[in-house]
């Protein structure tokens, strides 16, 4: 048992092992002051089955831990000749199942070595990007204390092309440092005539405690079970996950014999698993997968996060969002201008949440024009424009699970123009030039209309260039007004298919198109005034009145 802190807990665990009939050799890190060590050792005076091995300084990733394990193992084999299996554990390990159960388990497998041991090519856990190089470079500097020096020396060796020679006869293997080996294998490793060679080699390998026994046991073991009996989960930095009181049920349901690492102050865990009620595990079905899932999820959350969430501890740089927003939504441009009752119609037919112009200049037009919306978003335009992107991403995040649709156009504030263009969740449907219809219907001076038309056209053209740029990732459809009016049904059908209509039949009900009689002439008048409206496509100056009015007169289609 390797021990360096939380000595009280270590004592508790050691006593538990001894009570279960297992002799214990304890190695206390040399960094623990002598006085504390002696006091700790004195506490075991009543237990002849506990000894203390010569102390080594154990720093993470260095040889000290292997040296400590060797010394302790030698002592164990020499002092207790009846021992058949030796289990390497630490002070923060805790037996979950009764010791007797573990003994029975090992008795049934008297020649099996339990040690996780895989070749470097086959393991995904490589902290610091070093896998095979662990064995071929030198690592004289501490990774924890002199990270820069460590990294630079590695780089230098790579540049120079330095490679250490791996001693003949061994193939580097890696695995969890917590093993359970048979006397036969362990003594063969420790008494190997070439041990000096191996020791000298592994002394300069990085994290030798994960490779020394793992490699050498391959030379002697009769049958290796390549798994650790110790349940030990690592996070993305390669440090072990810690178990707390609230993991009690999880640990109970795991089938593992020993778990690490236990938080020293997890009183409930220590009481439950080391208490007299040793049958804590009995009768429960083993289910180690659940622990795996929880910790895998934690790593995933730390490395990938929740897409579309911007918060105090997740604020990705541009293009690292892993999704600009959290879920799909639809943007309609020019539809409310062309159809009289587009919003209620869309809501009816899709069941989605349909807003007006969310980015209207004076007020946010939430559905039903409410003054606040999900997440207490305010309808205040100043607040919204203070951070337009946050407004959009908040809205989509707050309404997860419900599709949002909103109107957009050149009359709105344009802060999010690029954000929606590069958002793969955005489904954007544009009838370009439709902004001219309200102008056409209005009763304002023509000079004003001309100025406004020129401005809106300029804004929309910029927006369209964003939508057409190579960075645009949304599902984008753009029709000119003329194209759309020609066959509005097909276009609407296409759009709705993507939003997902509840009933998968053809459209049975269509919104009412505004009366466009004279619109062509209106455009011609703009042209005559020197302003060239081009975004609406080639709109005939005087369309045959029948063509334009048909959809308006026949809102119901007969298939």
């Amino acid at each position: 048992m390797l021990v360096h802190t939380a000595l009280d807990r270590a004592e508790q665990v050691a006593r538990h092992w001894v009570a279960g009939g297992c002799p214990v050799v304890i190695h206390v890190d040399r960094k623990v002051p002598r006085a504390i060590h002696d006091a700790f050792a004195a506490r075991f005076a009543d237990l002849p089955d506990v000894c203390f091995s010569p102390r080594h300084a154990c720093e993470w990733g260095t040889w000290g831990i292997v040296a400590a394990s060797q010394a302790a193992a030698e002592m164990m084999l020499a002092r207790f000749p009846t021992v058949r299996h030796v289990y390497l554990s630490s002070g923060s390990c805790m037996p979950l199942r009764p010791v007797a159960e573990l003994r029975r388990y090992l008795d049934a497998r008297p020649t099996t070595d339990f040690i996780e041991s895989a070749t470097t090519a086959d393991v995904p856990w490589t902290v610091g990007g070093l896998s095979e190089e662990r064995f071929t470079l030198r690592f004289p500097f501490s990774w924890k204390r002199h990270r820069k020096l460590f990294d630079r020396y590695v780089d230098l060796q790579r540049k120079v092309g330095f490679r250490r020679r791996i001693p003949p006869g061994i193939v580097p293997h890696m695995g969890s440092q917590w093993w359970c080996l048979t006397r036969r294998t362990l003594s063969a490793i420790l008494q190997d005539p070439d041990r000096k060679v191996y020791d000298r080699y592994f002394r300069k390998v990085w994290i030798p405690d994960e490779s020394y026994f793992q490699t050498l046991s391959r030379l002697y073991a009769q049958s290796i079970e390549s798994r650790s009996l110790t349940l030990s989960k690592f996070d993305f930095q390669g440090k072990p996950h810690i178990f707390y009181d609230d993991h009690l049920q999880l640990l109970r349901r795991s089938d593992c014999f020993v778990a690490r690492k236990i938080w020293p102050q997890a009183d409930l865990l220590y009481k439950t698993f080391l208490g007299d009620d040793a049958a804590a595990m009995k009768g429960t079905e083993p289910n180690p997968g659940k622990i795996d899932r929880i910790f895998a999820k934690a790593v995933e959350r730390r490395t990938r996060g929740r897409p579309g969430l911007y918060m105090q501890s997740r604020f990705p740089r541009d293009n690292w969002e892993n999704g600009v927003t959290s879920s799909p939504y639809s943007v309609f441009e020019g539809f409310t201008e062309l159809f009289e009752d587009f919003e209620p119609w869309l809501a009816r037919i899709t069941g989605a949440r349909v807003h007006g112009h969310l980015f209207a200049p004076h007020q946010v037009e939430f559905e039903g024009r409410q003054s606040t919306f999900n997440g207490a978003l305010s309808d205040n335009a100043l607040l919204r424009d203070y951070n337009g992107r946050a407004f959009l991403t908040n809205l989509i995040w707050n309404t997860r699970g419900e599709r949002q649709c909103f109107q957009f156009g050149p009359g709105d504030s344009q802060f999010i123009s690029w954000d929606i263009a590069r958002d793969a969740n955005a489904q954007i449907s544009v009838i370009s030039g439709a902004w001219a219809i309200p102008l056409f219907q209005s009763n304002r001076n023509f000079a004003d209309l001309r100025t406004e038309a020129a401005m809106l056209q300029k804004i929309e053209s910029e927006h369209l260039s964003a939508l057409r740029s190579p960075w645009a990732k949304g599902r984008i459809r753009i029709w000119t007004l003329a194209e759309f009016v020609e066959s509005p049904m097909e276009a609407l059908q296409q759009v709705l298919d993507e939003v997902g209509i509840q009933e998968q039949r053809r459209l049975s009900e269509v919104p009412r198109m505004v009366d466009l009689t004279g619109f062509g002439q209106f455009l011609q008048n703009l042209k005559n005034q020197g302003m060239h409206p081009y975004l609406m496509g080639d709109f005939p100056v005087d369309p045959a009145p029948d063509n334009a009015q048909k959809p308006a007169r026949k809102p119901y289609l007969v298939r």
Partner: protein
């Protein structure tokens, strides 16, 4: 980061340290129990004025989380709060009648106390109306968190300020001494926060919530900052720059992930909006000792006089930290 900028920030940090040292002369000891502080104790630092009615619950809440010692600067309280604190076995109290504003809203006083007593300790800096919530806070003491942060080589832990408010007029319900303020102010805004990054100090600048919605809608830039970094493994070289919003050296402000992942974070439940606020807003307006000419208090006074109700139909009722986690206001990160 350019060498020049780095140098300037270092100068600035040293200036704050010097200033803190100078301002320390303004403090008078009322009760000094700092001798009790053990080597690994978790310390709480706090500045307050006339908060007596909140103190019993405040102390109880943080004792329960596992804070070992409280270090409090009392800014000339007249309500008996100082005497109450001085009687507590785990509280050290200093007092001063000097200007809160000129001490940069208490930052200078606390910077000094922290460098004096907080070196190499985990320190939590909160106001008496702020309640720290972190992942698993219902099952794990704060020591579990700091141990985990230590093991992960993390020096600072962010906790955004979440404004809590009652349903109905703030005046309506009276807060009783030793009562849990969350029983009254149990509502919050779940998703209307806007974030930008501060390029100079690298911290995030978070604004929004009910205060932005109700008091600062027409001047959103002035809305109060909600980003906070209250829990830090303190070193005498560190300094808070502005409240607990940002620190120097600025690496401590990187409590967020920039590559799509989530770091662990908590929340400070801010229970300012109780009936006690009206009186306080009046008083603070007269003293003019608050940030940016007490703009905030002016807004409250105006708003509260008109009986502003912060509650709206989309307000969320607080349940526990897991709810905040699901809403995306805080994160477990890779702590499981």
């Amino acid at each position: 980061m350019g060498v020049w900028q780095s140098y300037r920030l270092r100068l600035q940090r040293q200036r704050w340290k010097l200033r803190a040292h100078r301002k320390s002369r303004e403090l008078t000891v009322v009760a000094d129990r700092t001798g009790q502080i053990g080597r690994n104790d978790i310390l709480l630092f706090c500045t307050l004025r006339n908060e007596d009615v909140r103190l019993p619950y405040f102390l109880q809440y943080y004792r329960q989380l596992g804070v070992n010692h409280f270090l409090v600067v009392d800014n000339d309280s007249t309500d008996g709060g100082r005497e109450y604190l001085a009687q507590q076995p785990d509280v050290s109290v200093w007092t001063t009648a000097h200007s809160y504003q000129k001490s940069r809203f208490g930052v200078d006083w606390l910077n000094w106390l922290q460098s004096r007593y907080g070196h190499d300790h985990w320190t939590l800096v909160v106001d008496p109306d702020e309640f720290f919530v972190y992942p698993f806070c219902d099952t794990r003491p704060i020591r579990a968190l700091t141990d985990w942060l230590d093991a992960s080589s993390i020096r600072s832990f962010g906790a955004m300020l979440l404004d809590m408010y009652p349903k109905g007029r703030i005046e309506e319900t009276r807060y009783a001494r030793a009562q849990d303020p969350l029983e009254i102010a149990s509502w919050f805004d779940a998703g209307n926060y806007a974030i930008t990054r501060n390029a100079r100090f690298l911290n995030l600048w978070i604004q929004g919530g009910p205060r932005a919605r109700a008091f600062f809608a027409d001047k959103p830039k002035q809305a109060p900052a909600l980003n906070k970094i209250p829990l830090v493994r303190w070193d005498r070289k560190y300094a808070y720059v502005s409240s607990t919003h940002m620190l120097l050296p600025r690496g401590l402000n990187l409590v967020y992930d920039e590559w799509g992942g989530e770091k662990a974070s908590g929340v400070l439940l801010h229970t300012k909006f109780l009936n006690t606020l009206t009186l306080k807003a009046q008083e603070e307006l007269e003293r003019r000792q608050h940030y940016a000419d007490s703009k905030e208090y002016k807004a409250y006074a105006a708003g509260l006089a008109g009986n502003t109700n912060l509650w709206c139909k989309w307000s969320e009722k607080y349940i526990n930290w897991r709810q905040l986690e699901i809403l995306g206001l805080m994160s477990k990160g890779n702590w499981a």
